[in-house]
């Protein structure tokens, strides 16, 4: 199994750290941050193949972060997380370059599937 590096971004820390832990149990290199600025810093330090971004965050929201990531690392695949069930934001995100979106609460297996699709593995 090819492992890849994934960064998780969500203002809900409990959530995002737990998902990272579960991914690590499954053998992926996962890191978690709780805001957009920290995310950009991390990406600058080292590359990530997948970035999972919550759409609704205080400060820099998911779409803005998406644009910035795409600007810096066009090769990084972004998967959006949305809690609103509104397809609009997510579809807007896809137009902006996100690979896909998932609705919270997510299924870990589904997330892994999407990530594999995103990285083509």
């Amino acid at each position: 199994m090819d492992t890849f590096r994934v960064l998780l971004v969500d203002d809900e820390e409990e959530l995002v750290t737990t998902i990272a832990e579960r991914l690590q149990l499954r053998g992926y290199h996962a890191e978690a941050v709780s805001n957009g600025e920290d995310a950009l810093k991390r990406i600058e330090e080292k590359p990530f193949e997948v970035v999972v971004v919550d759409v609704k965050m205080p400060g820099m929201d998911g779409l803005e972060l998406l644009r910035r990531i795409k600007a810096k690392n066009p090769s990084a695949q972004v998967i959006l997380l949305t809690g609103r069930g509104s397809a609009k934001d997510s579809e807007a995100g896809i137009e902006e370059g996100a690979f896909d979106y998932l609705i919270k609460p997510i299924n870990i297996e589904e997330l892994i599937k999407k990530m594999k699709q995103a990285t083509g593995r």
Binding site: E12, E14, L15, R84
Partner: protein
């Protein structure tokens, strides 16, 4: 038709019920309008009636008046002429000549020829003795000293008598004139006049056979025979009318109670009154005909007006009632939609808030499971894992609810495209064909020719049909029937009716069936299916309704616009 005129189930209606209010409105409208239209009609008719009556009477009265006047004039003239003749003679001829029999006879003959009407002539001295007499009787030497007329002529110089039966049994009257000579002594010339002339004048008036004309004296005794049979000197049968200078016309009732019109004229300087009696009924025949026409016109007009008023008022009240009803329905519908929207937003808000903690529970529990699975030596591992799974299931359930709630309140764009409803429904039924076959459920679609293609959102419409058909399947026993009927309605709408042969829905549940979270399925289902469907149909510009009867099945009626809003 009568129902059209009176659209109420019964008269009146208690207190302030809607029916009572409409009835009152109708009643007031009818009464007021009827009053306002019919009152002037009646007033005008009454006025016309009296005007016409007056005119007719006037037409009647005028000729009678003229006739009486005419007779009065000519009779007065006749009498005046005779009086004048005698006055002339008594002044012209000296006493001696008049007292001479032969001379008097000659004078009398000339008078008779020249004037006509004179029957005799006599000279009476102041002692009352008739000194000379010319005429058919033997009255020479008769003494009139004690007679009333003699006294009267002494006082008044002229005297005209009532009628008496005279020569040839015909009415006559007497004229006497007095003259004083230079010595202060007086003498009287007396003549008898034939009533014939006057009577002939009356006879040649050209009256109708039913009319009567005659002359009476101031006591009501006939002075001429009446045309209708009474003889002179009999009671005339009419009351003596009041004195008037000119001709008058009065109305009276005779002994039998019949109305009659009497034209009369006092003949001046005589005891005579001319009377003309007419029967008004014959004359008023034309008036009666006119009056009857007038009354008939009034009656028919009133009836027509009343019918029109009743009809119009009933129609108006009916339309008003309909409009009120439609307004109430629309208001209710709007209220309901608002309620749904509010609930939806509330639900979405809650769901959204819950999603995050729910996600945390999900991940934490998931991690818990992951760790349990990895660890080898855990006492009661299976039980622990089972507990964790149970928690995860509940999270899954919560998740489904929140997702559906969020879906319920979604402000989704409607993607418009042309849709063949028939083929969409066929697809939906196909989707359930396996279950239908298994449970022996028959499905059918009824579609009229030339059914239009509509413009709507494919995905959402499919969701609607699927939901309803699913519900139908769920409600029925095996062997049931689902019938889908398509209809084109006026005002650019179509109607899709999905009926099942299930047990039907009781009325109290029926009213709440589209409410969010309302479900009769106890543990299964979220109670959101129909409320979401309702929301989608509204969003697509249509409306969904349900008809059901316990024991007879249920029908959902979905109305959609042909062109998307």
């Amino acid at each position: 038709m009568l129902r059209r005129l009176f659209p109420f189930r019964r008269l009146g209606g208690e207190g302030d019920t809607k029916e009572a209010r409409y009835f009152r409105l109708w009643l007031y409208t009818c009464s007021l309008t009827a009053l306002v239209s019919i009152a002037p009609l009646v007033i005008m008719s009454a006025v016309s009636y009296y005007q016409y009556k007056k005119a007719f009477r006037g037409e009647l009265v005028r000729p009678i008046n003229r006739l009486a006047s005419s007779v009065k004039r000519s009779t007065e003239f006749f009498l005046e002429e005779r009086r004048a003749a005698m006055k002339f003679i008594i002044r012209e001829k000296p006493f001696d000549q008049l007292a001479d029999q032969d001379q008097l006879t000659r004078i009398f003959r000339n008078m008779k020829e020249a004037f006509g009407g004179f029957v005799d002539l006599g000279l009476i001295d102041s002692a009352g003795v008739q000194r000379a007499y010319a005429g058919p009787y033997q009255l020479r030497g008769v003494n009139y000293r004690d007679q009333d007329w003699f006294h009267e002529v002494q006082l008044r110089d002229v005297y005209l008598s009532d009628v008496f039966m005279g020569y040839r049994n015909f009415p006559h009257f007497v004229i006497a004139v007095k003259h004083e000579d230079v010595t202060g002594d007086f003498y009287v010339l007396r003549a008898t006049i034939d009533m014939h002339f006057i009577d002939r004048q009356i006879r040649t008036l050209g009256l109708q056979p039913s009319s009567d004309a005659f002359i009476i004296n101031h006591q009501g005794i006939l002075q001429t025979p009446s045309r209708l049979g009474k003889k002179a000197l009999e009671e005339s049968g009419v009351s003596v009318p009041p004195y008037s200078e000119g001709a008058e016309v009065i109305e009276e009732r005779d002994e039998a109670g019949n109305a009659r019109i009497i034209g009369y004229a006092y003949i001046e300087q005589s005891p005579f009154i001319f009377m003309l009696i007419k029967n008004p009924d014959l004359l008023m025949k034309n008036w009666v005909a006119l009056r009857n026409r007038l009354v008939a016109f009034l009656a028919i007009s009133a009836v027509v007006i009343l019918l029109l008023i009743l009809g119009t008022s009933s129609y108006m009240v009916h339309r008003l009632r309909e409009a009120d009803q439609r307004q109430a329905e629309a208001y209710h519908h709007l209220e309901y939609s608002n309620k749904m929207a509010t609930i939806g937003r509330l639900g979405a808000g809650v769901a959204h808030e819950i999603n995050n903690p729910l996600a945390i529970i999900n991940e934490k529990t998931g991690l818990l499971k992951d760790l349990l699975l990895l660890e080898k030596n855990i006492p009661q591992k299976e039980k622990l894992i089972a507990l964790v799974d149970s928690v995860l299931n509940s999270v899954e359930r919560c998740s489904r609810i929140t997702h559906r709630l969020l879906g319920f309140a979604k402000h989704i764009d409607v993607h418009r495209e042309p849709i063949d409803v028939n083929s969409m429904i066929t697809e939906v039924l196909d989707f359930l064909s396996k279950e239908a076959e298994f449970r022996d459920i028959t499905t059918s679609i009824s579609i009229p020719p030339n059914f239009p293609t509509i413009e709507s959102d494919r995905g959402q419409l499919q969701q609607v049909f699927l939901n309803i058909v699913n519900n139908a399947f769920a409600a029925m026993e095996d062997g049931g029937q689902v019938l889908v009927t398509l209809q084109e309605k006026i005002a650019g709408r179509i109607e899709v009716t999905i009926s099942d042969t299930g047990p039907g829905i009781p009325e109290d549940i029926l009213a709440r069936i589209f409410e969010p979270f309302f479900s009769t399925k106890k543990e299964h289902g979220t109670g959101l299916g129909l409320s979401i469907t309702y929301g989608i149909v509204e969003k697509l510009g249509g409306h969904i309704d349900v008809i059901s009867e316990v024991g007879h099945g249920t029908s959902f009626i979905i109305t959609l616009p042909i062109v998307a809003p």
